[in-house]
Symmetry: C2
C-alpha cells in the first residue's frame, strides 16, 4: 500500500506508535504543538541537524529502509559524540513522495528507533510532508553536556598529537563495492570483508562512549567526527583552531577489509583512508604527553582502537601529509554537496 | 549566479554572515559539530519542526524569497506561541537545487532572520544539501516555558468557552486571490483589501505575546495555533481533551477584506473562516466566567482582538457548528499532505 491511500493524520498515528518510548525528562511527547523536555540542571543543550536526500545521500538499491533509517539517526548522534555530549532527544521530518510504500516508512522508522534506543535517544516529534521530489529525511538532535566537558573544534594547539578512533576506509570501500557490483557481481572478495565494509557503509556506530572517555581525560583540545572524510574534517579543526595539520599516512588505521577491497577495485588505499566519508569516527587533538595513555584507556574501556596519526603544527607550516619520505600538501578531499 | 558555481563551504560561510547575532545564552554558535545553549533554570525546552516544500507549501510566483523565508520561520515560532512559550533558537536545513540563484538564498535567509529577530529568535545552526527535487526548507525551533505556564491541547473541559485571536480567512483569501490572478488580473478588489489579504498569506505574524498573556491568566485549559484551518485544529483539541466542540458560525471573526474577496471570488465566507490554513492565530479554551475578561485583556495589552466563537461540550454531544438555526456536524476541512 502506498501513501496515496493513507491520510496524513493516519500516517502520523502509525508512526507515533512505532517511535513511542519513555524518558523521565520527557514532559510532553509527540501530539502537541511542540514537545517539552526537562534538562539536567547546569547542563548545556547541544543542537544539530542533518538532512538526507534519496539518490544523493542514500540509495534504496544499496541499503534496506531499516539501514537507511539507522544511518540517518547515527549521523546525528555522531555530531553529539563529537562534542563529547550525551544524545537525548530527536525530531524527524520526512518529505515522502506519493508512491512511497507504507512498509518502507515503517522500516525507516524502525531503523531510526533501533539506533536511537541503543544510544539512549527518544524521538519526540517531527513533521510529515509530501514531495514531488526525492524522499528526504531531516533529523534534529538534542544532546546535553556539562559546560566543562564540551569539546569544540577550536581548541587544538601546536604540539598536540592527532588521534582517531577505530579504523578508516571501510565506509567508502563498502559504497564502492556496491557501486561496482551493480554492473556485475564482484568476484574475489572474501565474505567476511564484504560483510565488514558493507556494515561500515550501511550501519555505522557513533562513538558516544569513546567521546565521553576522551572528554573525561581532560587532555583533549579539539574534536570532530568524520562525516565528510578525514582530510576535510581535520582541516576544519585546523581552521577553527588557527593551526596547521601534519598527518602521517603510514600511521592511518586502514581497515583491513577496506584495504583488500581497495586492492580489488584498484583504488589507492591511502586516498581511501584520507577521504572516506561517513566513517563517524572521532578525530581529536591530545596533549603530546598523554596521547598514548588516552589511546590505551579508550581501548581498555571500550575495545575501540585509537591511533595517533599526526600532529598539530604552527599555522605557518601549513597543512601536510607525509607519505614515505615525501611531504604533500593536505587538501580537503571529502564530499561537497554542490561542487560535483 | 547559481549554486553550481559555489561550493558548499563557501555558501555556508555566506549564510553564516547573514544569520549572525548574539544571545547571552548561546555558548557555541554555527560552525562546530553542534550548537550549544544555556537554559533559564527550571524552564522546560519546547521543540518543534516544520518543513516547507516548493510547489506544495510555497510558490516563487506568489511570494518573494524574503516573504517565503519569513513565513517558514513564522510557522515555527507560532508552534512555540501555541504552547505559551518564548521562542529562542532555530536550526535551518535547506535542500537546494543546483540552479538555485545565490541571491534567492540570500533573500530566503534575510526573511527568516527578519522574522526571527522581531521575535527574539537566533538561528544557531543548520544543514545544506543539494537536491534533484524542489527547494525544501526544514526548520527546528526551540523555545522555553515555565513548567506551570505551558498550555497543551489536552486541557479543555466541557463548559469552557472557545476563543480565537485576530481575524480569520485572510490567509486563504490571499492565496485564492493569487491563484485567480495568475490567469488574468483581477478587477474589483480594493487596493487596501488586496494588501491586507496578501500580507495575511505572505507575512503572517505569530501570536507569542498574546500566548504569554493567555498563559498568565491562568484560566485557559487548552491551546493550539491555526496552521491547518480552524475546523481541523480545534478538533485536535477536542480529540486530545476527550471533549466535543460546538462552534457558532455567526461569531467567527471574519476578516473584512477576506469577506469582500470571498464575495468577489464566489467563495463561501464561513467555509473560508472555518478552513483557512496558515492563519497562525491562537485558539484556546477559557473557563466560562473569565472568557470575556481575558478577551478584553488581550485586546488592551496587544491591540489584538480576541473573540468567543463557541464552547466545549461533553464528548457525547459530538462536534458541531451552528449556522443560523441549523446545527451541522463539524469536520476537519483543512489541509492534508497526502490526501489531495
Amino acid at each position: 500500500m502506498t501513501l496515496k491511500a493513507y491520510g496524513e493524520f493516519d500516517l502520523i498515528q502509525r508512526i507515533r506508535e512505532r517511535i513511542q518510548g519513555d524518558d523521565p525528562d520527557l514532559v510532553i511527547g509527540p501530539g502537541d504543538d511542540t514537545a517539552a523536555v526537562r534538562h539536567t540542571p547546569g547542563s548545556l543543550s547541544l543542537l544539530s541537524t542533518d538532512t538526507f536526500v534519496e539518490g544523493l545521500d542514500f540509495l534504496e538499491e544499496f541499503s534496506s529502509w531499516h539501514q537507511i533509517g539507522w544511518k540517518c539517526m547515527a549521523a546525528n548522534v555522531s555530531d553529539i559524540a563529537a562534542m563529547a555530549g550525551r544524545p537525548r532527544f530527536a525530531l524527524v521530518s520526512m518529505c515522502l513522495p506519493d508512491e512511497t510504500e507504507i512498509v518502507a516508512v515503517d522500516h525507516l522508522c524502525d531503523g531510526m528507533v533501533d539506533l536511537a534506543r541503543q544510544y539512549g535517544v527518544l524521538i519526540i516529534g517531527g513533521d510529515l510532508s509530501g514531495t514531488p521530489g526525492p524522499l528526504t529525511i531531516s533529523i534534529t538532535i538534542m544532546g546535553e553536556v556539562a559546560p566543562n566537558q564540551v569539546i569544540r573544534r577550536s581548541g587544538a594547539e601546536a604540539g598536540d598529537r592527532i588521534c582517531v578512533t577505530g579504523e578508516l576506509g571501510g565506509a567508502e570501500a563498502g559504497l564502492r563495492l556496491l557501486q561496482a557490483s551493480t554492473d556485475e557481481p564482484l568476484n574475489g572478495i572474501l565474505p567476511d570483508d564484504y560483510a565488514n565494509v558493507l556494515s561500515r557503509h550501511r550501519t555505522p556506530r557513533p562513538r558516544t562512549e569513546e567521546g565521553r572517555i576522551i572528554a573525561d581525560s581532560g587532555c583533549v583540545g579539539a574534536m570532530i567526527d568524520i562525516s565528510d572524510g578525514l582530510s576535510a574534517d581535520i582541516l576544519h579543526i585546523g581552521k577553527e583552531s588557527g593551526v596547521g595539520i601534519a598527518l602521517d599516512a603510514s600511521r592511518l588505521p586502514l581497515n583491513t577489509a577496506a584495504a583488500r577491497t581497495a586492492s580489488l577495485l584498484e583504488i589507492d588505499p591511502i586516498s581511501l583512508a584520507m577521504n572516506s566519508g561517513e566513517e563517524f569516527e572521532l578525530v581529536c587533538t591530545v596533549s603530546r604527553a598523554q596521547a598514548d595513555t588516552l589511546c590505551q584507556k579508550v581501548y581498555d574501556e571500550t575495545g575501540t582502537r585509537m591511533s595517533v596519526i599526526g600532529e598539530v603544527v604552527p599555522q605557518a607550516l601549513g597543512n601536510t601529509w607525509l607519505h614515505g619520505n615525501t611531504t604533500h600538501q593536505l587538501n580537503a578531499g571529502g564530499y561537497d554537496h554542490f561542487r560535483k
